[in-house]
Subunit: 137 residues, 2 copies
């Protein structure tokens, strides 16, 4: 786990990691949230809607932004204040996602960073774009 | 699970549900995301930072927006396009959250609704505010 202090950070710094989406992740996310929507849970339903299989919850994909901030950038001192995400393409079981954050702004007076975030699948397609405001505490 | 069609919806309609945050939810969220940040996992660390115990992941609290859209409003036909959230107060194990969404805009040409969302704890304190753009498909 990284542990950047505010003074260690600079605009343009970035961190990334890869994660593969599994059926167990979808089932576990359903267990936490109670989101029983069939698009994410019923393969036949998802196929009837034109997908190759169960679609990953958008908010499951967004969950990896927690790891991006809390483990990678800035790491231990992270306190997420604000998140904006747009879901641009569906994510499926077996997809290998690259989760990336790049610092685009640093506000010293409140020790806050703004991270531009992108999540890309194994074909290079962006599945999520967004930004996060994170305090370094 | 609700199953509103676009024509069933109107500005001002709202849905809400309650959920109690458990230690198992935090552990399960860590299992999915790999976010090992000690604020959420190490009680002694969280107490040393001035909290009464482990702090729930912000993105775990935000995960219930998946349920709000996919089960409650609009329910089965939900396809989340965009989410904005601000985390205004910490959430702890044992907190009972009320997750509420109210339709503030309907765009018929693209069958999209905008939901104003608030998550409030058992003391009536807002822990999350935000908005979601959701397609009704």
């Amino acid at each position: 786990m990284n542990n950047y202090k505010f003074e260690d950070l600079s605009v343009g710094m970035s961190e990334s990691f890869k994660v593969t989406i599994t059926q167990e992740m979808l089932d576990s996310f359903k267990g936490i949230t109670g989101d029983i929507n069939p698009l994410h849970n019923d393969e036949a339903f998802a196929i009837s809607k034109g997908h190759p299989g169960r679609v990953a919850y958008g908010m499951l994909t967004a969950s990896f932004l927690s790891t991006l901030a809390g483990v990678y950038i800035p790491g231990e001192r992270s306190l997420i204040q604000q998140v904006e995400t747009k879901f641009s393409s569906p994510v499926y079981i077996g997809d290998e996602l690259t989760v990336k954050g790049e610092i685009v702004e640093l506000v010293e007076s409140v020790q806050r960073l703004e991270l531009k975030v992108t999540i890309t699948n194994q074909s290079g397609k962006k599945v999520l774009r967004g930004k996060m405001q994170i305090l370094v505490v």
